[in-house]
Amino acid sequence: MLEACVLATLMCGFFGIIFKQNLVMKIISMDIMSTGVIAYYVLIASRGGLYTPIASTKEVAYADPVPQAVILMLVCVMKLAKNNPTLETSVIEKNNTP
């Protein structure tokens, strides 16, 4: 069920990228798609359990730390990648095609 929701988010984002004409809307759609991807990573991480993997004395079902670590890094990288163009869309849209 959750997986279906996540995939639906992904597809929503992708269709937005295809169908929206406006560049800003396209970029927002891409953001939605990346939200879907991040949610998917979190979902896979929680297969083993829901507890955050921090050292403790109790035996609990830990969430898989690897996808979580990965996703933290991905969020950083994605933000870096996107900050630059969004600032300049107004300039670009004036002359869309070279």
């Binding site: 870096l80 300049e88 002359n95």
Partner: protein, 489 residues
């Protein structure tokens, strides 16, 4: 050697930021970094090294260095060195050199990592650095071209990430080897990312506009090394996992034919070169075992061609033919073009022979056709009439950096002959000569007279993303079909 590898990868990012702090030393620091890479690449060959490194614990970053990566690292080092020397006197700001070095480092990182997430990080850093380089001149057009590049690569990398996650789900690890046990969707999604990033087949049609509209040194770097970061992981997967290999080979042949079919009809020199890149990357993929050397020769030849095309008086072939070009221009142009055509005496010949030995029987015919197409494409460059002492010679001033870059790139192509000297056997010599004869006669008899304009609709931004979803379905279907065929036997 492990420590050297880590130091080498870290050095390019470190030097990149130091350049920004010490702008006076920018060119020297950048040059030192590329020489370090060249030394590293050569030392892998000399020591015949094959290194598998696992950093941190079992979930850490995995690296894999061997001869295949060494070819790509060496290409990267030579091309970046040539580009830096080319820009030496052009008064580029230290920001430019910083991006060049960071791009250089991240491309190197992509050539040695052995798991999907390290690769993702490398590819994403490449996108950012390449975008900043494309948009360096800050004209509206370059910014749009850069944004288009960034948008396309970001979108496919999202698909790639989902694929990487599915690999992890199946194997509890991101290593390349895990691709085998993963569901078909994972392979399809990851390959879509790599094909698009590498500029291969339909998903690579973002490439011609990006590479032809960027500034001259930037397009030399993009075409020479940056696109190879998408191709390299596919080669690596094909060599690690025999089950993946047929898919890679099919896409290679498809891309070789598609690229060359478009390149023949272009009337613009830089667009011709860009489409030829699409086709040559297909050749690299068509024979994974010979891909390293082929990529090396292509990288050197293509980046030198881009540097030359940027210095020609015009980009239009008809105008160039009427005006004529100086002899000193024509000579390097001819050497690089002949190398891509596979003419003996230049390293491209050895690469073509080596590739021919690794082809499957069904590929041979298709790639012969593609090679004839390549010859026709580059006949446009070779038959620009050279004129000595003409006005053309005098009116174009070239900086000395250009000639230094040419010496490095073309010298590499000529020295590269020695690497595969076994190719010089009589039976190997006949085929390329016949191919070139056929190609040139077709060029003179048919194509020189007609000008065909291909529609550019498919390169439109909207269609690029749509085309990618179609390619995704195609790969999915191919991988699925292959699985069922295996089961059948």
């Amino acid at each position: 050697m492990t420590n050297t590898t880590i130091a080498w990868i870290a050095a390019s990012f470190f030097i990149g930021f130091v350049i920004y702090l010490l702008p006076k030393l920018d060119r020297w620091l950048a040059l030192a970094m590329t020489l370090f890479s060249a030394g590293y690449g050569i030392s892998i060959f000399l020591l015949d090294l094959s290194l598998n490194v696992q950093l941190l614990d079992s979930f850490g970053v995995t690296l894999m260095v061997d001869r295949l990566s060494a070819w790509f690292i060496l290409t990267n080092a030579l091309v970046t060195t040539a580009v830096i020397l080319y820009c030496w006197q052009t008064g580029k700001k230290s920001f430019f050199y910083m991006q060049v070095v960071i791009l250089h480092g991240s491309v190197n990182a992509a050539f040695i990592c052995a798991d999907f997430i390290s690769l993702y990080v490398a590819l994403e850093v490449i996108s950012v650095a390449a975008f900043l380089l494309i948009a360096y001149t800050r004209t509206d057009r370059t910014i749009w071209v850069g944004l288009r590049y960034l948008f396309v690569s970001n979108t496919v990398m999202l698909f790639y990430l989902v694929g990487a996650l599915l690999v992890y789900k199946a194997n509890n690890s991101f290593a390349y080897q895990g691709l085998l046990n993963s569901p078909t969707e994972a392979i399809a999604l990851i390959f879509l990312g790599l094909l698009a990033k590498g500029g291969v087949f339909i998903s690579g049609l973002w490439l011609p506009l990006t590479h032809s509209e960027s500034a001259t040194p930037v397009s030399a770097m993009l075409s020479g090394v940056v696109v190879k970061t998408g191709v390299f992981p596919m080669l690596r997967c094909a060599m690690l996992l025999p089950e993946i290999e047929p898919t890679v080979r099919i896409f290679g042949v498809g891309s070789a034919l598609l690229g060359v079919a478009c390149a023949i009809f272009q009337q613009d020199s830089k667009r011709t070169l860009a489409f030829s890149t699409v086709s040559q990357l297909g050749f690299v993929l068509a024979a994974p075992a010979a891909g390293g050397f082929y990529a090396f020769t292509h990288g050197l030849a293509k980046s030198s061609l881009f540097l030359q095309a940027g210095n020609l008086p015009s980009r239009d072939f008809t105008e160039l033919r009427n005006k004529g070009i100086g002899l000193k221009f024509w000579l390097p142009l001819a050497i690089a073009s002949l190398s891509i055509c596979g003419f003996p005496l230049v390293a491209g010949f050895g690469a073509k022979v080596w590739m021919g030995k690794n082809l499957l029987s069904w590929q041979k015919m298709a790639l012969n056709v593609a090679t004839v197409g390549t010859v026709i494409t580059f006949a446009k460059f070779i038959f620009l009439s050279p004129q000595t002492g003409s006005e053309v010679d005098k009116e174009t001033k070239i900086q000395s950096g250009f000639w230094v870059a040419m010496v490095i790139l073309l010298g590499g192509l000529i020295v590269g002959n020695a690497i595969y000297y076994e190719a010089y056997a009589l039976e190997n010599l006949i085929k390329p000569l016949v191919t070139i004869a056929i190609g040139w006669s077709i060029y003179f008899l048919l194509l020189r007279k007609f000008i065909v304009k291909l529609p550019r609709a498919i390169e439109q931004f909207e269609h690029l993303i749509g085309g990618m979803s179609l390619v995704l379905i195609l790969i999915f279907w191919m991988v699925k079909m292959r699985a069922s065929v295996f089961n059948y036997f």
